[in-house]
Symmetry: C2
Subunit: 203 residues, 2 copies
DNA sequence: CTACATACCGAACGTTTGTTATGAATGTGC
DNA sequence: GCACATTCATAACAAACGTTCGGTATGTAG
């Protein structure tokens, strides 16, 4: 019942990493079973042994996107709350390291496929919903702590913050010289300062 | 020397529109010569007659992206200046109409290909640079008119504004129910109000 | 009318794609 | 050691791909 000469999960993870490498270099347009196999010096038979088909390969890649972003080596260890926590969350998204660049390259690239496939579309929509929820929680914390104007709608603020961050990701990917890590961080800090200062504004 | 029974430019434009339709529905992943030919009820021979190959097809599609955004039916006719002009520019980008949705769907989808092909990458980078320049001009106008804090760096503000807008585009595409046109406009207005109010903030 | 250039179809080409089947290793359970 | 399950390479497969090309129709130029 259990002839396991190799660790199934470990091998599967190897394939997953090969997929990652292919996507980081050639995008979803260059994702083929043979490319994945070549990236790990194996045959297509191995790939299909761990993933039923290309569609499962893509779905799995999108799965790890969210997880990888969350499991990123945190920039600052202490479990922050409120505004600092929101800051960390936003910075964790940005392409500040080579690894972060790869993640975001894949992330941005995934939008083309996700917008055309109903199943992937729904999955991605849910994922972004979840990210917004995390940001909203941090924002509500910040409001309770008086770091952000309590009057503002937390969900709207979360949407705005995620919009700004995702857009910044795209700009940074296309103009890495113009937007090096330090510069990105400055823009985030300016953005957050703007949110905090926006206390005496009405419609 | 000029046997022209059909208008060459007009036919080329027809092909261009067929490409557009394919991209809007199936993204760059679904862009094939046969799909384009089928979309206009013609043969692949016709397509290759007006465009040398698939690569030229993609390049042309990216070309019209910027142009289409600029030639959009303006939401408000009067040639505004300063902050209102900036507002219009941002609103022109957003997917507020079915046509705007199509444009942005293609736009967002183009990032996967553009990030993997050096030539397309450079072209897109230049395009975004150009958009930022337009926004910066409007921002500098607004600063001169006292609508925005004069102390802030105009280029940074332009980057922030474009980041926010592009990110909002992505969110709106993936959550159209959550972010209907009116809601998007509200978020933009909130964002601009935040910029205007950010006058008493220091590092 | 003759020559010629353009417009376009239709089909073929070689390649690459995802998928599937065969079979040889190599282990475990009894 | 005799099944049997897992692992994986190899190879085949049809489908779809980008590209190329011969052929026909239809115009203009002289």
């Amino acid at each position: 019942m259990s002839p396991a000469r190799t660790d199934h999960d470990a091998r599967r993870h190897d394939v997953s990493e090969a997929v990652w490498r292919v996507l980081a270099e050639h995008g979803f347009a260059g994702l083929t079973l043979r490319a994945v196999a070549a990236a790990m010096g194996a045959s297509t038979g191995l790939v299909t042994h761990y993933f039923a088909g290309k569609h499962e390969l893509i779905a799995h890649a999108l799965d790890i996107l969210e997880a990888r972003t969350r499991q990123r080596p945190r920039l600052e260890a202490p479990a922050a709350t409120g505004l600092p926590a929101l800051r960390i969350h936003l910075l964790d998204i940005l392409p500040l390291t080579p690894d972060g660049v790869a993640i975001n390259r894949i992330w941005v690239g995934s939008w083309d496929v996700a917008l055309s496939d109903p199943a992937l579309f729904a999955a991605q929509a849910t994922r972004y919903e979840r990210i917004r929820a995390v940001l909203r929680a941090a924002i509500e914390d910040a409001q309770r702590l008086g770091e952000l104007p309590a009057r503002a709608d937390a969900w709207r603020l979360a949407t705005t913050a995620l919009s700004f961050t995702h857009g910044l990701v795209v700009q940074a990917l296309f103009a890495p010289d113009r937007l090096p890590p330090e510069h990105q961080i400055e823009l985030v800090d300016d953005f957050l300062a703007g949110l905090a200062a926006d206390a005496d504004q009405s419609t």
